[in-house]
Amino acid sequence: MESSGLPAKIRRAAQLLFFKSHRIPGVKGWELKRSLGSGYSRVMKMLRSQIEPLGMTIKAVGDDGAELSLDTPEDTLSTARFVLVLTDPLKVSDAKTSGWSIDELAGLTICLATIGSRGDKAARSEVEETLRQKFPKWKVRNFLSKYIKWGYLEEEGDSLLLGWRARVEIDTRSLLRYVFGA
């Protein structure tokens, strides 16, 4: 990669990452390669160093939901999804400003903890039953359809799985730790 074209490539990478062009945010490794050429992981690292002071970072997530380092060979990264995420936790007031209610946040915690404790897949009836410990029936149905629509959960027959968004945005292990510490 020529150094002279690097600033332009960093700008192009920022455009690709910031502006959502698919239903699911982020850009696949092969899309970055097509637009930026070989050595795109180096461009990603440079962009990351520029946006980290602003409280954001670039996360590469493999097909199985595992986070990959930007130092991973580009062949492996080609199917990974590169997403911009915030680095610091949000406050309740920030989440409320973004349109979340406390009940929605708590409901999602219950779903993710239940599914996480079952090895990332749980019967829908079990998740509903656990939610019913805290919320009325009509709210439970409403919550589940929202979480599925937003990509935090996925349906597979009578089961619920972690969705792409949960895998990208949530550290399930620390969530379980916080649930027990809560």
Partner: protein, 238 residues
């Protein structure tokens, strides 16, 4: 034989779909049964079904192995303990647990050429919708008066008549039913009267969010002459 094999495949795949504990499934009797069935026929369609059943067995064994691996890991959390933790925590604390482990993705929606093409197609394919000239005419006049409604009328005879009608029809009607099926003009007039009736406490709204229905329920002992501002006029029924 074919039916038995198909039943076995359905049974195995439904176990997988249900997400229940894979170790609770007794594999040995089912495998013995499959072994007997395989010996019975060498027809292609039966061998095909044998293979499918075996594939489902393999998936189930993999799930059992994964389940054991997860359970033996130091990070394994018993679902029962999770339920206890959830029951013992307030919604605020659960929300806080989520916020601590959540790093939301960021990004901006942008209008692409493809999206513009799709929206053009959508708008181009919409059916024309126009309101007849005679129906739109009254709307061009002076607000309520153009509908033949004056403020005095609203808080007196007309509204009371509508309240009486509601009571005579059982005291509880769907909003659309009370609105009636008259002309647009008539329905607009009744809609205005209903809203005043609600504001003045002659009726309340019951909302059924899941069915997206609104009921107008007549209320006795309304505060005649002034709106019941301090009281919510909407209740939600499950």
């Amino acid at each position: 034989m074919e039916k038995e094999l198909k039943d076995l495949i359905v049974e195995l795949s439904s176990i997988m779909r249900s997400g229940s504990d894979p170790l609770a499934v007794q594999l040995e009797p089912r495998l013995s049964r499959l072994r007997q069935l395989i010996k019975k026929s060498l027809q292609f369609k039966h061998i095909e079904l044998d293979m499918e059943a075996l594939y489902n067995f393999a998936i189930l064994v993999y799930s059992q192995s994964k389940f054991l691996r997860d359970k033996s890991s130091v990070l394994y959390v018993d679902p029962f303990l999770i339920r206890l933790a959830v029951m013992g925590s307030s919604t605020e604390r659960l929300a806080d647990a989520f916020l601590q482990s959540w790093r939301p993705s960021t990004g901006r929606d942008v209008l692409s050429l493809e999206m513009m093409r799709r929206s053009y197609e959508y708008w181009s394919n919409l059916k024309d919708y126009t309101i007849g000239a005679e129906e739109t005419e009254p709307l061009l006049g002076e607000s309520l008066e153009s509908l033949g409604v004056t403020y005095d009328e609203l808080i007196s005879e007309e509204m009371l008549r509508l309240h009486e009608e509601l009571q005579n029809r059982g005291g509880r009607l769907l909003y659309e039913e009370l609105l009636g099926e008259g002309s647009l003009n008539e329905r607009l007039r009744r809609a205005v009267l209903i809203s005043f009736m609600l504001s003045y406490g002659y009726a309340v709204v019951e909302k059924e969010p899941l069915k997206r229905r609104f009921w107008i329920v007549a209320k006795e002992g309304a505060t005649k002459g002034r709106p019941t501002e301090a009281e919510s006029i909407i209740t939600i029924v499950s």
